[in-house]
Amino acid sequence: MMRMIDFDTLFTIPPYALKKIEKEQLHKQYLDRLFEHHCNACKPYQQIVRVLGKNPPLPVRLFKKYDLRSTGNEEITKTMTSSGTSGQSVSKIYLDRATSARQTKALSKIVSDFTGKSRLPMLVIDSKAVLKNRNMFSARGAGILGFSMLGRDLTYALDENMNLDWKTIDAFCQKYYGQEVLMFGFTYIIWQHFYQTLKTRNKKLPLKGILIHGGGWKKLSELAVSEDEFRMELISVTQLQKVLNYYGMVEQTGSIFMECECGHLHASVFSDIQIFHPENFEIAEKNEQGLVCLTSLLPTSYPGHILLTEDEGEILGEDDCPCGRMGKYFKIYGRMRGAELRGCSDTYEQH
């Protein structure tokens, strides 16, 4: 069944070229086939469909409780895990060769739309130690590994204790002095372990080019750092021209949503976003805040093509971003507030 999905055609399309109607038609075709495939290949998915109907959005939390896979055990080459906050159970995402190859390819097409076709020297603001277990990838490890394909002369800026590796950084700066480089890392780690060290030492690194960062806004907002502040501060300790955020989740690796030069997150040809009104799950209009539902055309090894997140966001527009990219663009507000329920069963020690 899976072989019938023609992904080759999908990858011939430039990532931000399709207008609303073309994209809708394309997505409908792929989603129909993905639906059919996962129904046939994933029993729990089929049971959900039996009750909820065609192509129901799967709550991301479901991947924590159940092993959802649409491929045989022997086909699984990687298992990715979400970096759940301590004490919480983690999501497990099962990847086969074909799905992970597609994710890598999509990521490369998306990111090179921002960085250019040539592979830039790359500085990862993290420690190599994150990549230790190659079969069980954390979201952080997966992100690093995925992005590392997009650069050359991969260099890690932090040592195993998460301290700045000055020797390596200085060598990197010297080697590529005056050239464009690609920097990548997780928002919170960049702030905590890179920016703050540079700031306290009053140091400015001669790094030119582009920084792409993602994940961990929640932790950052606890420190009361806004997106703008993050961008300005990072530019102040380097010579970077662009600092771009991305939005994505381990459940849909590859088809990430990149922030453009206008500060908008963009859906690519591989992905889409819808905003739901929480009270009825009806689709919200542009500029209405609601629950984020994400589409990715990539996964065939697990039923993650339509996911209901627990994030809140808002569509800002479609096909008309000043940056020139087609498709929807949006912003994310972060996790939805937890519910407070009445009731007599509680744990008094917690209150």
């Binding site: 729990p44 049971q47 959900i48 039996r50 009750v51 909820l52 129901p56 799967l58 709550p59 939390r61 479901l62 409780k65 159940y66 009104h277 929480p278 009270e279 009825n280 799950f281 009806e282 629950l291 209901l308 627990e310 809140e312 939805m336 507030r337 937890g338 519910a339 407070e340 329920l341 009445r342 009731g343 007599c344 069963s345 509680d346 744990t347 008094y348 020690e349 917690q350 209150h351």
Partner: protein, 391 residues
Amino acid sequence: MSNIEYLIGSERLAKRVLPVYSDEAINFLSDLSSELLHASNIRAYPDVVSVAYWCRKGNLLKLREVYHSINRLGRGLAFHIAPSNIPVNFVFSYFFSLLAGNANIVRVPSKPFPQVDMICNAFRQVLPQHPQIAERTAFVAYPVNNEITAAFCKEADLRIIWGGDQTVAEMRQYPVKPKCIDIVFADRYSICILNGDAILECTAQDLKNLAENFYNDTYLMDQNACSSPQLILWRNGSNEAQTRFWDAVEKEAGNRYKLQGMTAVEKYIHLCEDAIEYPEIQSFVRQHGNLLYRIQLSELSKVETTALRGKGGYFYEYYLEDLGELCALINAKYQTITYFGVHPEELRQIILNNGLQGVDRIVPIGSAMNIGVFWDGYDIVTMLSRVVCTS
């Protein structure tokens, strides 16, 4: 000890106990009732109204007449752990123990509720005229603190522990006096039995009242109280009866319930989980957006029904061919059956004749939350007092 805030009373409590349903207690509670009913904003809090009504003199005298025994006395000092999510439960716990003749230390909900403030204010007004009661009453608030809890547990002759399985397990860790008696309120499960024929016979007004009562049993507490029905069992009638009932409930909830965004998400997640877990699901009906979820089950023989739990308007439905089927469903976790169009005595006989371990209350729809001296199968005042016999 520091960190303890005495909202009412102090650490000095009287050692001497009172008789059950003492004049002192009844007079005090009656004054408290009038004080509460005169509070300017009481109408905004139906749960405080229910507190005030419950401790009216008439009600208490009636209880005394039925259950009074001159040979019963309190047991000493009672320590109450109230649930933190229900604003008025703590004061009912106190009432029952006071009427049993005990002195009381009550840990009030740590979440701020205006109802708690209202009740404490009324106590402050009335207690000075009732010194005998004042020296037997302490309401305390303290942050999570094992030492304070341990100290109260050590002194207690009785512990009244609300809050479900986990709280009970935690409280059981503390050493107590050898003779200390615990009344514990564990996690329970409740159902509703509806006669479809009776629904079809309802006038529009009857139906509206029924829906309002059903709402009060369920949505009003986010369907998250032990006595809120989770499983709706149908007798007789047809699809038409079910539709008629749920349409009325939907209307009521649409007017009154504020569905939080995250509750809607939780309901949806729960539905997906149920779809995976239960092939018994025959169909699913969603009404008024995400306000009302109905999960219709075709078969219950392999289902542990007490695991069927929804929150915020998430109901399981099953059609009962015969009331006798209840015997196979009911286990020790079952607490309340709310009913409409079914004879309660018929239900009671099923429990009694079959020696079933569960179901302690069979009450009409709308009374699920009405707490009283009989609760969870306990005769609370009797359990909190002791009898002096001669021969």
